[in-house]
Amino acid sequence: MFALSDLEAEALTLSLQVSIWAVGIGLPAALFVAWLLARREFPGKTLLNGLVHLPLVLPPVVVGYALLLLFGRNGPIGAWLDSAFGLTVAFTWQGAALAAAVMAFPLMVRAIRLSIEAVDTRLESAARTLGAGRAEVFFTVTLPLTAPGILVGAILGFARSLGEFGATITFVSNIPGETRTLPLALYSLVQTPEGEAGALRLAAISVILALAALAGSELLARQLKARVGG
């Protein structure tokens, strides 16, 4: 009953791969943007804030279509990636990771931004009077105190990536073994006559995965909290 079929294993591995990459790429960028929004004043800040939140409010299909226009083989960025690095993202698993990263980005930024804003700037100025430069203050004070928020952002982003459907299917289609992640495989089975049993099994796998991620994050969060001394 719990032995995975090849199809299931393939979709599961692909989903994990896509989600891990999405968080891996998205998290550092989200950290930087969150810091900008929390700690810096600059012209166009409102615009950046709106842009970051766009995937949260737009229909995912629109995001996927926009990605297709930008990153497609003939899109401005896609063409450049192809000629400069020989990297194709349209209709590949890398594209699925990109779509997931874009969709998860606002969630990661929000979680991290809140936790950076909660770090007392007075601690940062104290650190500077003790001889630490701006970058050093960020890595020795701001970042460690933000760690719980970064963890929350990562978990939210991971969960969002696992569930990504609309932008993915629009941008990279539903190619078995390449871009058919768990939700896409589930969708395909539901569309197939007599695929219901398989769909149920995939749904169960999704639930178990989500619960495991939540439990893991809870455990980590407790350890972090004890270390940070919240």
Binding site: D120, L123, S125, A126, A127, R128, L130, L145, R227, V228
Partner: protein, 384 residues
């Protein structure tokens, strides 16, 4: 030498502060809440950027708007002890102490980790987390952390303000030790005159964004025109004095000052120890003839030098007692009935118990006051 001349506009508040003073010992920045004391020390530390002006310390320019100099805080080497300790919650006490130490320039004047730990009594706390410390312990750790960064000057912004009196009494001796043992120049912000009398040598008096006066504590606290700023209730004369003897059988200590010998409850200090004594105006009573069969030990003959104009029920008088100024606060009724006016000879009476530990400060180690007018009583040597 600390030279400050800065202009800063913060909303409706205009700061235009200018003063220069020696940096040895403790320089106190005194004034009511909201007069701009914290802005001045923040500008010294580099945490607030003045709109224009200049800040220099011992010849090193830290800020000069005309030359475009603005040394970042991490390169100013100015230690800062904040009102709230601002310890890093994710480090242990040891980690907090080492934070500044790791980044401090080695070599000249660097203070040893174990020395600071011993001086501030931090041995038992090293493995604790800041959240497990009491308010007083936190402030001690903050002091140690700032010291270990090997600062040119230590800024303290009301480090005792958020502590209750027992905690204050716990921290003050440590600050005295920094001043006397380590000889770290300190800029001390406070609105409590008793802390300043106890710690400071130089006073910078601030009012509404300006420096009203700067100079030795003794001079400024004795000036009638500054009375509204130094505080009416706390008004009095701060006098340099030295321990000249002990009367063991009565538990008294004799302090020589320019106006004579003052007997106060016993102090655990050797003969020759340099002190600053504050005699509050409200603790001085006046008589026209020497009091007889009276419990008050300290009676000084003097002359009325100045009568303050107040218009209320109370009047402040400045007396010249020997070479020392002494302040007396009496009622307007007494003033009229005794017919006191400048030039009148009076006897000033000071209760020994009025001089408590909050009225006494150790003077900087290099201060030397020899009570010239005070003749040493024959039993002066009976002390230690």
């Amino acid at each position: 030498m600390l030279e400050v001349s800065i202009v800063k506009r913060l909303g409706d508040f205009d700061l235009d502060a200018e003063f220069a003073c020696e940096t040895h010992g403790v320089v106190a920045l005194f004034g009511r809440s909201g007069v701009g004391k914290t802005t001045v020390v923040n500008a010294l530390a580099g945490l607030v950027r003045p709109d224009s002006g200049r800040i220099a310390i011992n010849g090193t320019t830290l800020f000069d708007s005309s030359q475009g100099i603005d040394v970042p805080p991490e390169r100013r080497r100015i230690g800062y002890v904040f009102q709230e300790a601002r310890l890093f919650p994710h480090y242990s006490v040891r980690g907090n102490l080492r934070y500044g130490l790791r980044r401090a320039p080695r070599g000249e004047g660097a203070i040893d980790f174990s020395h600071v730990v011993e001086l501030l009594g931090l041995e038992g706390l090293l493995h604790r987390r800041p959240r497990d410390l009491s308010g007083g312990e936190r402030q001690r750790v903050a002091l140690g952390r700032a010291l270990l960064a090997n600062p040119r000057v230590l800024l303290m912004d009301e480090p005792l303000a958020s502590l209750d009196q027992p905690r204050k009494d716990e921290i003050l001796p440590f600050i005295e030790r920094l001043r006397d043992d380590l000889q770290v120049p300190i800029v001390y912000v406070s609105h409590a005159m008793d802390e300043i009398i106890r710690l400071a040598d130089t006073l910078v008096l601030m009012n509404a964004g300006h420096v009203a006066a700067a100079g030795p504590v003794e001079d400024l606290t004795g000036r009638l025109d500054l009375r509204p700023l130094t505080g009416r209730y706390e008004a009095g004369a701060a006098l340099p004095a030295a321990v000249v003897g002990h009367e063991r059988e009565y538990g008294l200590t004799q302090l020589g000052f320019a106006g004579g010998v003052l007997r106060v409850p016993a102090l655990d200090l050797p003969i020759g120890a340099q002190l600053r004594v504050r005699i509050r105006a409200r603790d001085v009573a006046l008589a026209l003839r020497p009091p007889e069969e009276c419990s008050i030990l300290n009676v000084f003959q003097g002359t009325v030098a100045e009568v303050g104009e107040d218009g209320g029920a109370l009047v402040d008088l400045r007396l010249d007692v020997g070479d020392a100024p002494l302040w007396a606060r009496i009622t307007a009724k007494s003033l009229a009935e005794l017919g006191l006016c400048p030039g009148r000879k009076v006897f000033a009476m000071v209760k020994a118990v009025a001089v408590d530990r909050h009225s006494l400060g150790r003077r900087a180690a290099n201060a030397r006051f020899v009570p010239a007018g005070a003749s040493l009583p024959p039993d002066a040597g009976s002390g230690d």
